[in-house]
Symmetry: C2
Subunit: 273 residues, 2 copies
């Protein structure tokens, strides 16, 4: 049986993504993203499901740095999970009696407009995660509500007050599955991720590296620069393209880019719909 690591605790978006990816194998929660990634290095896990980027808050740079570093792990899957905030209580309550709202500070900020319009007498209190905010309300000596993920409504002790209360729409987190197993097979619709860097820091380097893709009409779905930390002004470029490394075009393209840059192949994997 495979061991799959993720950022706990149970009930968070990370645990939700992990269950959605796999419902057979052993899933192990860790306390921080770094512990999740380290579990792969120490062979404590075979695969990990980690957030890579959020449409509101940008990339999780610890994960980018792990992908760019020397190791033999590959991306074998991706999942896009919509982040939707619901307001819950433990018993029926009038808006004006809500004295406290618990949630992760990011969720509190994203629902700020709703909260000030609806709960005029409430303090906003931070929880460690949207899952923890439930426990914080149970242990609170004030009456109130908490903000949590949509699947919490399945809990019979919880009452739904409102759904989709965030001000910012299109809040999606892209999770990737990183694995110690070999490269994976071609499907009908794949994506390939690479990271490239240049020894010489000439302004035209990136331009030259994009030429093989442009000439072969390969679609680039992402490009992101990130400082290498080794030398000021020196960058990694994270690039996602459509296709699988077994496709003739992609294969030739990667070979050409390799001739003019340091290229690390991160993986080819099914595109998430």
């Amino acid at each position: 049986m495979l061991k799959i690591g993720y950022l706990g605790p149970e009930g968070t978006y990370s645990s939700h993504a992990t269950k959605l990816y796999d419902d057979e194998n052993l899933k192990i929660p860790f306390n921080t993203i770094n512990e999740v990634l380290s579990s792969l290095k120490s062979s404590e896990t075979n695969q990990v499901v980690v957030p890579l980027e959020n449409s509101i808050n940008g990339s999780i740079v610890e994960v980018l740095d792990f992908l760019a570093s020397k190791n033999n792990f590959h991306i074998v899957g991706e999942l896009n999970i919509e982040i939707n905030h619901s307001v819950y209580s433990l018993s029926s309550i009038n808006n004006e009696d809500v004295k406290v709202v618990y949630s992760h500070p990011q969720a509190l900020a994203q629902c700020y407009d709703y909260l000030i319009n609806n709960f005029k007498n409430a303090k906003h209190k931070a929880s460690n995660s949207t899952a923890d905010s439930y426990n914080d309300l149970i242990n609170s000596n004030e009456k109130g509500v908490f903000i949590g993920p949509p699947w919490m409504k399945d809990n019979e002790k919880i009452i739904v007050i409102a759904e989709n209360v965030q001000s910012v729409k299109n809040n999606v987190t892209r999770f990737v599955v990183i694995s110690d197993k070999n490269k994976i097979k071609k499907t009908i619709s794949d994506k390939t991720s690479i990271v490239i860097s240049f020894n010489e820091d000439s302004p035209g380097s990136l331009f030259k590296a994009l030429e093989p893709m442009a000439k072969k009409n390969i679609n680039m779905t992402k490009i992101e620069s990130r400082p290498t930390k080794e030398k000021l002004g020196n960058y990694y470029f994270f690039i996602d393209i459509e296709g699988h490394f077994e496709d003739k075009d992609i294969n030739e393209c990667l070979t050409e880019i390799k001739e003019i840059s340091s290229l690390k192949f991160l993986g080819s994997y099914p595109k998430f719909n």
Copy 2:
């Protein structure tokens, strides 16, 4: 007198960056990044200081989206602020007597290794900001510590337990100053920010847009793609280059890029050292 907006409350990294940028004018705190940005649109403020990207957590996408949208505001400055976490208490305390640690969940996560090694009996409790964690400890009925920014040691009621306790090094937030005033003058060392997009989604578009920069040997210090939300697979590219729009090379280059893309000039401003 200018009115400068920032993300409050007092004592956070944002308020620190704002003071560093300006010590003369009126500074107005807001509750969310969106309120800060809206204050510029409603003329409640003339300038705002907002975080644009963090070296660990990536870009603040609300700010990127604001920059890319139709408006006449310009970036007029940048500041790079190092994020360093210190551990503080309210009275002298032995490590084993620490029952609770307060801070923003991001700070708790970044100091996780230090905390579990030093405070074996402590629960980690979330605060709304690193500035709030001080008040949370004051109001707590348990003995403990809190994690906050380095300048809190200037408060006479606070005792420094340890400094620089984060596991992740090189944690820097880049703030930008966005203004309603006109374009600003050339200095000895400037940066120019632009955002480009393409009507036609051909794979070679970005490649062609980078050509003028490559040919003129203009140094690109950042490139980041971001979905436009208008059409699936359609992207904005945020690009920073070295130089000022009054430089002949930069000016010609921007004109050439404009011929093959929709280009929004975001501003030329002094490079932060």
